[in-house]
């Protein structure tokens, strides 16, 4: 069993955005403007656990992105991934979800992995399409919204999926693509020992020439056109303190307010 985990670099959750002439920029003073997509932390943790507890021979972190995306791979290494690979090529620019999935699928195939972890969705693009599209490109079984791995062997895996109507238990033969939800684990913090190892690692970059990409990618391949990007209007917030003589009275007043505002 060999595990790969796809992770995307996204703006941090505390970043502030500006849109200028359709160009988005962001900053996070005092923090890092770009981070590991928060959902992917759970995918990374689960990949490492398969290595630590279920004898996976490797837990490889994979990202498609520019040089700055090495940062997310270093975080994955610092958490405990055994290797990291970045795919980048001038010809990848303009790829939509399907192009990105085709590129990732080719890279996943090249690693020789038979389980590919993804986050549920990326907090910037927010489509959740990449995992299923990559599964389609690979011809592997997609297991989405996985909240627990019940058992795993060299040829099959049983997982719990969180779906709107409840929890579903599914067994599938390997290879599989898995997208995870945050109920699956509690991601660890990177260790000093891991950070040291990561900061000394050199991360290989695979280009289009290194990959056998099937299907469309790159300029003109995207099915979705981001025709206009605008700044959402800022919201006017009003703070109101609810007072009362007892906790019950305050709670009742609060509940009434929430109903009136159609919050609940």
């Amino acid at each position: 069993m060999k595990v790969v985990v796809c992770t995307k670099q996204t703006p941090s959750t505390t970043a502030t955005f500006t849109v200028n002439n359709g160009v988005v920029s962001w900053d996070d003073p005092g923090g890092k403007p770009n981070v590991v997509n928060p959902w992917d932390e759970y995918a990374i943790e689960e990949a490492i656990r398969l290595k630590e507890n279920h004898g996976a021979e490797a837990a490889i972190a994979l990202t498609a992105g520019g040089e700055s995306a090495d940062d997310v791979l270093k975080t994955a290494l610092a958490m405990g991934c055994t290797e990291a690979i970045r795919v980048e090529d001038a010809g990848f620019a303009g790829s939509g979800s399907r192009g990105t999935a085709n590129i990732l699928a080719a890279a996943i195939k090249k690693t020789g992995a038979d389980i590919a972890f993804f986050g549920k969705q990326a907090i910037d693009g927010d489509t959740g399409l990449t995992p299923v599209m990559a599964a389609r490109a690979l011809g592997w079984t997609p297991l989405t919204y996985v909240s627990a791995i019940k058992s795993v062997s060299d040829d099959s895996i049983t997982v719990e999926r969180q779906i709107e109507t409840g929890t579903q238990t599914v067994t599938a033969p390997l290879p599989v693509v898995i997208s995870v939800v945050k109920e699956i684990n509690e991601p660890r913090y990177p260790s000093f020992m891991g950070i040291r190892k990561a900061s000394r690692a050199t991360i290989p970059v695979w280009s289009a020439a290194d990959l056998d990409i099937e299907g469309a990618y790159g300029p003109g391949s995207a099915k979705v056109d981001w025709s206009e990007i605008t700044q959402p209007p800022s919201r006017d917030t009003v703070v109101e303190f609810i007072s009362g003589d007892s906790a019950e009275e305050i709670a009742a007043a609060l509940a009434t307010k929430l109903f009136e505002e159609k919050v609940i």
Binding site: K32, K74, A78, R188, Y189, P190, S191, F192, M193, I195, R196, A198, S199
Partner: protein
């Protein structure tokens, strides 16, 4: 000359800050109010390496450089002074002597469990009811050799971590003119750990008196060289002072951030109080002095890592950083006005917490004495 941290040190800071912001800082007020040590965050520190900062990797530690260790303590203190003192004492006072002076067997026995969080913490006992600044003249606790055992009798005071430790290192008189360090597991018969002291601040960091009533330890529990306990103590304290300096910087940074935010939100006379020059000056002084203090702490840490004599640098850094911290925390309360005096606001706790820093691990007076000795060549 280069004022930048290495990218590794930057990463350490980023990840410790993130950890502290999520796991510790939100609980700091409750830790203080309940006066309880906060194990949930500390247990998570083991795998990160925060419990074995200067322990070699072979024993499960993180073996980071002294600047990185200072950054770690500064960041923990930014989140919670109590927890920072416990972790600083554990690393700097409890584990460092074992790393520096321990035999291979002692390291194997204690470091893997203490550096990883599999066990509890560690503690160093030097101070006694009649011996603080003056250990040489004041220590009355004896360890006498009887057969193949040390027999300890006496009382230690103010042991940070004693009630949450597996191991204490005790400075004991082993003859009338000299002292030695003895490793004392906290469950040794004859060892009585007193209740947690009631303190002005740092309430979530247990401090205990410990009495020894015919406590018997094997002779191999001698740590380092017999008769060199005081010299060993002074070596350990030199490094520990850098850590207390870092802790003071972290508390000052936290208080300054609170004050900076409050000054821009609180309105008086038709605008935010940050528009008044009197407030601006306090903020400007705080930003300046914190920067200077942090630089002095890093400088002392750097000297140590370079293998240069750093006693004077450590004393200067500790003296300056702890006094800056007290001033910054005091002014943070001033900027908050009446609310600053309320335990509903963070700065009141920070002021109480930082008050110890000019006392523990050598008072400001003792630091000035050390510095004066160096510059006067005595």
């Amino acid at each position: 000359m280069d004022f930048n941290l290495t990218s590794e040190q930057e990463d350490f800071r980023y990840f410790v800050h993130d950890f502290v912001a999520k796991e510790l800082k939100p609980h700091a007020r409750e830790i203080d109010a309940k006066a309880e040590f906060f194990w949930p965050a500390v247990q998570k520190m083991g795998p990160i390496g925060l419990l074995g900062l200067n322990v070699p990797e072979a024993y499960g530690g993180a073996a980071v450089d002294t600047i990185s260790a200072s950054i770690a303590i500064e960041e923990i203190a930014w989140g919670c002074g109590s927890t920072a003192l416990a972790i600083s004492a554990h690393n700097g006072l409890g584990l460092t002597p074992i790393v520096k002076f321990g035999t291979e067997a002692q390291k194997q026995r204690w470091l893997p469990q203490l550096a990883t969080g599999r066990g509890k913490l560690s503690s160093l006992g030097q101070t006694e009811p009649g011996a603080g600044s003056d250990l040489k003249g004041g220590v009355r606790l004896w360890a006498r050799k009887e057969g193949d055992e040390w027999v300890l009798n006496g009382t230690k005071m103010w042991l940070t971590n004693a009630s949450i430790a597996d191991l204490m290192i005790i400075l004991a008189r082993t003859d009338s003119t000299s002292m030695s360090h003895i490793l004392v597991p906290t469950d040794t018969p004859g060892v009585h750990i007193g209740p947690n002291e009631k303190k002005m601040g740092l309430k979530g960091s247990p401090t205990n008196a410990v009495t020894f009533d015919d406590a018997r330890l094997p002779l191999e529990n001698l740590l380092g060289v017999e008769g060199r306990g005081l010299q060993q103590t002074l070596e350990v304290l030199d490094a520990g002072r850098i850590s207390i300096g870092a802790l003071a910087v972290g508390l000052a940074q936290a208080a300054y951030e609170e004050a900076l935010q409050y000054a821009q939100e609180r309105e008086a006379f038709g605008g935010p109080i940050a528009q008044f020059q009197a407030i601006q000056w306090m903020l400007a002084d705080a930003a300046t002095e914190i920067q200077a203090a942090r630089m002095m702490v890093y400088w002392a840490a750097w000297m140590k890592d370079q293998g240069q004599p750093f006693t004077k640098a450590a004393a200067m850094a500790k003296l300056f950083a702890t006094e800056v911290s007290e001033r910054v925390c005091r002014n943070a309360i001033q900027i908050h006005g009446g609310y600053g005096y309320s335990s509903e606001f963070e700065v009141e706790r920070m002021y109480r917490d930082t008050r110890l820093m000019t006392i523990g691990e050598g008072t400001s007076e003792i630091q000035r004495m050390i510095i004066a000795r160096h510059i006067l060549g005595r």
